[in-house]
C-alpha cells in the first residue's frame, strides 16, 4: 500500500492537529453597504443628545484656556506658579503629556500597518485624529512658555534682525523641528487616508454646499485601480516614513532633558523610556475615546472585543516597559555612585516634598495595567476604562515627577523651592482637555470616524480568491495540504 499516494483522511487520524478559526475582524458578516451606511450615518444623521452634552462644556473649557492665555499675556508670566529653579514647570509637563498622547495614533496607523496588523483598520482613523488634536494642545504650551509669545517666530529657521540664526545644536530647536514635522506628516498621512472616504461621503450627499466641500477635499477620487496602485504605494511610504518619525519625536523630546547635566535627567535610558511611555499613554487615550464612541454610535461590530483586547495587551506591554525604566533609573542612580543622582531619586520617591506624585505615577502606570494579564479584565469594558483612566492620570504624574520634582531639588540646597500651581496653571491645563474634546467631537460630527475603505478591504469576501462555499471556517480540503506535510511519524508508519 502506498502511503504517499492518497491523502489521509481525518477519520483515520483523530490526533490530527486542529486549526482554529481566526476571529473575524468585522462581526456578524456585515456587507459593504452596511459598513458604509453605519459609518456615514454618524455624519449624516442628527447627533445624539450626549454629543451636545459633551460639546457645550468642551467649548466653554476651550474658552477658559483662551481666557487664561489672554490673562497671561496681558498680565505677565508671574500669574503662573513657576519660579527659579522650577522654570520648566507646569507647561512643559503638559507639553510632554499631550505630545505623548499623540504617539498611539501614529503607532496604530504606521507601525501596525507595516507589521500587517489588519485589526488596525477599525481604529486608525480616530487614533490619527486624536494624534493631531493632542499635538495641537501640546503646541500651545511651549509657544506660551517662551514668555513673549509674539516672539515665537524666533523658533522658525529665519534670521532675526541682527542676522543671528537659531542655534541648531540645541535640543530645544531639534524639538521644534521634530514636533512640527510630526504634526505636518501626521496631517498628510491622515488626509491621504481620508480621501477615499471623503469620496464616499461626497457620493452620498445631495447637491449643495456639503457635497461641494466633501467633493473638493475628495480631490475627484474615482477609486480606479490605476489610482489605488499608486495610492497604496504612497500609503506604505508614509507608514514607512512615520515609523522612524514617531520614534524620533519623543526621543527628541527626551533629549531636552537627557542632554542637560541635571541629575535625574542626564540618563541614556530616556529616549526608549519616553517612547514606550508615550505609546502607553496614547493607547490609554485611544481606548478612553473609542469605548464610549463605539457604544454611542453602535460600532460594536467594527470595533470588537478583539480590538480592545489587543490594545489592552499593548498597554500591558508598554506599561511594563515603563515600569522597567522606572526601576532601572533608580538602580542606575545607586550604581553610578553619583551622590547627586542618588539624592534626586531619594527625594523623588522617599523623602522629597512631592513623593505622592511618585507613588501615583508608579501605581497608575505600573501596577494598574497588570490586571490585563487576565482575560476577564481585557474583556470587561469598565475594567478597561478604569485602567485607562489610571494610565491617563499616571502619565501626567510621570511627566510632573520627571520635570518638577527634579527641578524643585536642584544641586544647591540654597536654591531649593517647591512648585505650587496657580489657578491660571490649573485652568489652562483643564481647558486644553476641552479643546481636545471639542476638536474630537467635531471630527466625529463631520468626518468618517472609521476608515470605510480600509475596513471593507479586510473583509473575507474582499479577497479576489474568496470562495463563499467556505463561509463556515476552514474546510477539510484546506487542511489536506497541511496534513500531508505534517503526518505524525507513528501514523505514517502505521499506514505503511
Amino acid at each position: 500500500m502506498e502511503a504517499t499516494a492518497t491523502a489521509p483522511t481525518t477519520a483515520s487520524r483523530p490526533d490530527a492537529p486542529r486549526i482554529l478559526d481566526r476571529e473575524p475582524l468585522v462581526l456578524n458578516h456585515r456587507s459593504y453597504s452596511w459598513i458604509t451606511n453605519r459609518i456615514c450615518g454618524i455624519v449624516e444623521n442628527k447627533q445624539p443628545a450626549l454629543w451636545w452634552l459633551l460639546f457645550i462644556p468642551s467649548v466653554i473649557l476651550t474658552g477658559v484656556t483662551a481666557f487664561c492665555f489672554t490673562y497671561l499675556i496681558s498680565t505677565g508670566v508671574g500669574v503662573w506658579g513657576q519660579k527659579q529653579p522650577v522654570a520648566w514647570a507646569w507647561d512643559i509637563t503638559n507639553f510632554v503629556f499631550w505630545i505623548g498622547i499623540g504617539h498611539a495614533g501614529t503607532l496604530i496607523s504606521a507601525i501596525l500597518f507595516l507589521t500587517r496588523q489588519k485589526w488596525r483598520t477599525s481604529v486608525n482613523r480616530a487614533a490619527e485624529a486624536m494624534t493631531l488634536f493632542a499635538v495641537m494642545c501640546a503646541g500651545l504650551f511651549p509657544a506660551f512658555h517662551v514668555g513673549r509669545v509674539w516672539m515665537v517666530w524666533f523658533l522658525a529657521p529665519i534670521p532675526n534682525a541682527n542676522a543671528i540664526w537659531q542655534n541648531f545644536k540645541s535640543p530645544l530647536l531639534w524639538d521644534v523641528f521634530a514636533v512640527s514635522t510630526y504634526f505636518t506628516v501626521s496631517v498628510i498621512f491622515w488626509f491621504i487616508g481620508l480621501v477615499p472616504d471623503l469620496a464616499t461621503l461626497r457620493d452620498r450627499c445631495k447637491p449643495g454646499l456639503k457635497k461641494m466641500l466633501y467633493g473638493m477635499f475628495a480631490l475627484g477620487w474615482r477609486g480606479g485601480n490605476r489610482h489605488w496602485s499608486h495610492y497604496e504605494t504612497a500609503y506604505m511610504l508614509l507608514a514607512a516614513l512615520s515609523t522612524p518619525l514617531v520614534l524620533s519625536v519623543h526621543s527628541v523630546v527626551s533629549f531636552d532633558f537627557a542632554t542637560s547635566v541635571v541629575p535625574g535627567w542626564h540618563t541614556t535610558i530616556f529616549p526608549p523610556y519616553f517612547v514606550a511611555g508615550a505609546i502607553f499613554g496614547g493607547f490609554a487615550m485611544v481606548l478612553t475615546l473609542m469605548i464610549p464612541a463605539r457604544k454611542i454610535y453602535g460600532l460594536q461590530d467594527l470595533i470588537t472585543a478583539k480590538h480592545i483586547d489587543n490594545m489592552a495587551k499593548i498597554i500591558l506591554l508598554t506599561g511594563t516597559i515603563v515600569g522597567y525604566a522606572y526601576s532601572m533609573e533608580f538602580f542606575m542612580a545607586y550604581y553610578s555612585g553619583n551622590k547627586f543622582e542618588l539624592q534626586t531619586f531619594q527625594l523623588r520617591a522617599l523623602y522629597g516634598p512631592s513623593t505622592w506624585y511618585y507613588y501615583c505615577m508608579f501605581g497608575f502606570n505600573v501596577f494598574a495595567p497588570q490586571v490585563f494579564w487576565f482575560r476577564w479584565a481585557r474583556h470587561n469594558l469598565w475594567a478597561v476604562m478604569l485602567v485607562c483612566m489610571c494610565v491617563n492620570a499616571g502619565m501626567w504624574y510621570e511627566r510632573y515627577v520627571i520635570i518638577v520634582t527634579t527641578l524643585e531639588r536642584h544641586l544647591t540646597p540654597g536654591s531649593w523651592r517647591t512648585f505650587e500651581a496657580t489657578w491660571v496653571d490649573n485652568w489652562t491645563f483643564i481647558g486644553t482637555f476641552g479643546l481636545f474634546m471639542m476638536l474630537f467631537l467635531l471630527f466625529l460630527r463631520f468626518l468618517p470616524v472609521i476608515a470605510i475603505g480600509e475596513v471593507k478591504g479586510v473583509l473575507p469576501q474582499s479577497d479576489p480568491h474568496y470562495n463563499p462555499d467556505r463561509e463556515k471556517g476552514i474546510q477539510e480540503e484546506d487542511l489536506m495540504d497541511y496534513r500531508d506535510r505534517h503526518v505524525p511519524k507513528a501514523a505514517a508508519e502505521a499506514t505503511a
Binding site: Y32, S33, T36, P157, P159, A163, I164, W165, Q166, N167, F168, K169, L173, W174, F177, A178, T181, V185, I188, F189, F191, I192, P196, A199, T200, R202, D203, M216, L219, G220, W221, R222, G223, G224, N225, R226, H227, W228, S229, H230, Y231, E232, T233, A234, L237, L238, L241, P244, L245, S248, V252, I452, G453, E454, K456, G457, Q461, S462, D463, P464
Partner: protein, 199 residues
C-alpha cells in the same frame, strides 16, 4: 444655451463582487485593451497583476525628495553655524548668505560639529519625503480635478459604496461601440452603460 454635442468617454460595466471583477480584469487585459480601469471601493489584492499594471514609480520620487531634505538641512545648518563652506573653498556662499559661525556650547565651528545637526537632518528628510509622497501621488494619479466624464453616470457613485466597475475608454485603439459592448457582456458585465462627456 447648452450644447448637445457629446463625446463618448467609454463603456462602464458593473460586476457583482471583487472576485468577478478580478476575473473580468484578467480577461480585459488578455483581450489587449490598454486604456481601461477597474473602479472599486477598496484596493483589491492582486489586481495589479490581473491588470498587468507596472509598479508605481513613486518610491523613486520620494527617495530624491528625502535626499533633498537631508541636503537642505545640512546646508542650512552648516552655513549658519560653521565655517564648513569656506573650508572647502566655497566661501562665497557664506558671503552671499551673509552668515557667520555661531560659537556656542563649546562645540567646534567646523564640519566636525555635525553630530549635533543629525536630528534636524533626519526631521527634514522625513518632512520633504512626506511632501513628495503627497504631491508625487497627486501628480501620478492626475488629481485633484474638478470633474470627470464618469461622474455623469448615474450608477457610478456606487463605486464608493459596494459597486465594482470596469470602464473601457473610447480612446483605446481596440474600442468599438458594438465590439466592446458585446465583449463586456461576454465577460459577465451588468448594467452596461455608454458614458458620454458633454463638450
Amino acid at each position: 444655451m447648452s450644447t448637445t454635442l457629446k463625446r463618448v468617454h467609454g463603456y462602464l460595466a458593473e460586476f457583482d463582487n471583487p472576485q468577478d471583477l478580478y476575473h473580468a480584469a484578467e480577461k480585459v487585459s488578455e483581450a489587449g485593451y490598454q486604456r481601461w480601469d477597474v473602479h472599486s471601493p477598496f484596493p483589491i489584492h492582486g489586481m495589479d497583476t490581473a491588470m498587468k499594471n507596472p509598479r508605481s514609480k513613486l518610491p523613486w520620487l520620494v527617495f530624491f525628495g528625502g535626499m533633498a531634505g537631508t541636503a537642505t538641512a545640512f546646508t542650512l545648518q552648516t552655513l549658519t553655524q560653521t565655517t564648513f563652506w569656506g573650508d572647502i573653498g566655497l566661501g562665497f556662499i557664506e558671503r552671499l548668505a551673509e552668515t557667520y559661525p555661531t560659537v556656542v556650547q563649546a562645540k567646534p565651528t567646523d564640519f566636525f560639529t555635525i553630530p549635533a545637526f543629525f536630528p534636524v537632518m533626519f526631521e527634514l528628510t522625513i518632512l520633504f519625503a512626506a511632501f513628495t509622497t503627497l504631491f508625487g501621488l497627486l501628480g501620478l494619479i492626475g488629481l485633484p480635478r474638478l470633474n470627470h466624464p464618469l461622474f455623469a453616470s448615474k450608477q457610478f457613485p456606487k463605486f464608493s459604496d459596494d459597486g465594482f466597475f470596469v470602464c473601457i475608454e473610447a480612446r483605446d485603439a481596440k474600442f468599438t461601440q458594438e465590439g466592446t459592448k458585446s465583449f463586456l457582456q461576454e465577460i459577465g458585465g451588468k448594467n452596461i452603460e455608454l458614458v458620454e462627456d458633454e463638450i
